[in-house]
Symmetry: C2
Subunit: 437 residues, 2 copies
Amino acid sequence: MQIILLSGGSGQRLWPLSNEVRSKQFLKIFNEAGGESMLQRVLKQIRRTCAESTVTIATAKKQLTLLKKYLGENFDLSSEPCRRNTFPSIALAAAYLHDVKGVDADESVVVCPVDPYVDDNFFAQFHMLAAQISADSPLVLMGIEPTYPAEKYGYIIPQTADKISRVVSFREKPNRIDAQKFIDAGGLWNGGVFAFKLGYVLNKAQKLLGMSSHTELAKNYDALPNISFDYAVVEHEENIKVVRYAGEWKDIGTWNTLTEVLESNTTGGGIIQIDEASENLHVINNSDVPIICMGLKNAVVVAGADGILVSDKVASSYIKPFVEHLDQQVRFAEKSWGTFKIIDSDDKSLTVKVTLNRGSQMRYHSHERRDEVWNFIAGKGRVIINGEEKVVRAGDVVEIPVGCKHTVIADEPLKIIEVQLGEDITVEDKILWQVMN
Amino acid sequence: MQIILLSGGSGQRLWPLSNEVRSKQFLKIFNEAGGESMLQRVLKQIRRTCAESTVTIATAKKQLTLLKKYLGENFDLSSEPCRRNTFPSIALAAAYLHDVKGVDADESVVVCPVDPYVDDNFFAQFHMLAAQISADSPLVLMGIEPTYPAEKYGYIIPQTADKISRVVSFREKPNRIDAQKFIDAGGLWNGGVFAFKLGYVLNKAQKLLGMSSHTELAKNYDALPNISFDYAVVEHEENIKVVRYAGEWKDIGTWNTLTEVLESNTTGGGIIQIDEASENLHVINNSDVPIICMGLKNAVVVAGADGILVSDKVASSYIKPFVEHLDQQVRFAEKSWGTFKIIDSDDKSLTVKVTLNRGSQMRYHSHERRDEVWNFIAGKGRVIINGEEKVVRAGDVVEIPVGCKHTVIADEPLKIIEVQLGEDITVEDKILWQVMN
């Protein structure tokens, strides 16, 4: 059995902690085991329940370095050149399995999002889904027994209340009254888990996208339609079966649901004070400044380098358009070599705190439109400036004028306050060079 | 008539925008006239209504530079060596008027806090208060007609409902039920406005503190009891009159009341986004990062360099102990010469953004336990380093090792990213020198 984990979400719903390059699946916000990320948690569960299966992670190219940092190199990755909805993502991953990994078109595939918060039994169902795939039912879904008339999920209406049933129809995210009607009619939540033979999706790709080879799909990825697998495939398939799942299930893709599974009401490194009048309040402080909360009920407060969210828990599910509207510069990012954080931005300058992990280094580069000054505040390493290597340690200052080629190698973990100065500071202003001593 | 404005509050109730050195009376949060502070507003009103009176501002020594910056040198200031409650503060100001300014002991004095938000008519009452002072009623108060059974004010119970009445008794801050009883009994809010002859308070100081000269009071100020004028004097005075005031009155010393008088629901330089489900929400963003608020009702959100407050409006009145508990370093301060703001703090380093106004300069100084690096990011000026003067402009870097005497003069407005490096960085580590070229 092949498992495709869809891990390419933009993480906007968990703003300000997740962003384009620091997606939600990497947030180490589960207290257990000293900070485990969603992705690590799900992978461990799959390893326990589907030991013989092969996992492929479908993810955006932008997130590859971070993914490798967290998981090492021992995973198959379907790298998406840009962000598209689930149909292109699944098609590309299927083509990758077939063309690159040589998986047979007749092998079973289960697709699963990275954000369900469930017990192991959820993943154990995958075997049953795969076993139900047949010419008579080429597509098998997981249906979750609803616990309340949720408005944020799609509903699957099964023919019977058996563990395995044919699907009669689908309903898009309803209002509360309709949601109750669907539940009364035996409806199940659509958890975004799909099972099919590899060839099934390759055929759909050929038919709907006009191509099914990995080379073609990767090359034309940005031109593919931005549509979901549900919309493109599921809603048009006549013969679908659903496997019913009755355990606890939460998609922790929004603050509302994520906070439900956090062990503590307060997390993050920053100071947090909450008065006794507050109830059902979660505060996550990843900022440098203290937070005081008073008299807040059913709310979530999150502060990070990119911004501050204060929201009623239910309302927090609707954050996406507000984040899109911000269109802001990413102020904090975790890279394979360390982190960067913008600590001051002014008209013609940007001040950035850069940390480098032991043994890591920046790429050798220069800038055309800005000077930089490196103020080393901790650690020890070496800089190469226009070909000349020099040892640096805390207290050293290195000036890097426009055009000057430079890099730094961290022999011990390094911390730098980098002051950038120029009329037009952008991340694009970077020319890469080969180091030649 | 002498007016003493009590302007020495710690401003903890308006955290995080006000702090020890940036007290509430300087916050320019009133939109009208492009940002007017409480103090400026009140002084303008007194000038219009009590043109012939002399105003003395009683304030903490720590706030003197900022006060002079905002108001110039044309005000009489009673400078308090440390923070004490209203009785020591009023006694010191009275002694200052008598001993330093030569005011006669028989002259009328009206004491008023700096934070009432009222129309001019409030201050016009001062004449009537002063006129009611007599041997028979040496103390005259302002009583504000209540508009609701407030729990946060003291109540004055007058003998009659006349404009001027004798006082029967006082009631401390009651609960809501008692507050309603006091109102039914004709009670008035105690607005903290007191009128008396100068000699009256000097006698009280002599009697209760054992001293009444300005020299003695100033010298022993930190040993004086930390008690309020109400507690020390008003509650023990048999013969008090009250002048009834019926106009709008708000003490804008808490976020709850302050937000009521703000013209806009959003202020501050930072990006703010609020969803349509939010109601009666005020957001003040003085931080560098955006704030998104969703589904919040009757709340106030304030972000500044010192921290983040998220509070139900009513609950925000009770913030003081939480702020006291923080006991944090001041991260932003406005000085006579400019501003400083901590933008990063690490184990053995502190990074500070310093701005200097045109023509201003730091004092010539050195440090014993830290190196500093000045990264100039805007403006033009001169540094003096160990006696040597040098022109500096944006892009220049000046290294200042331990023991090195240094200062900077801003010929144009200057901006500096100052990186401090040392084991034990404190504001106390500063030795002042005379510049000798």
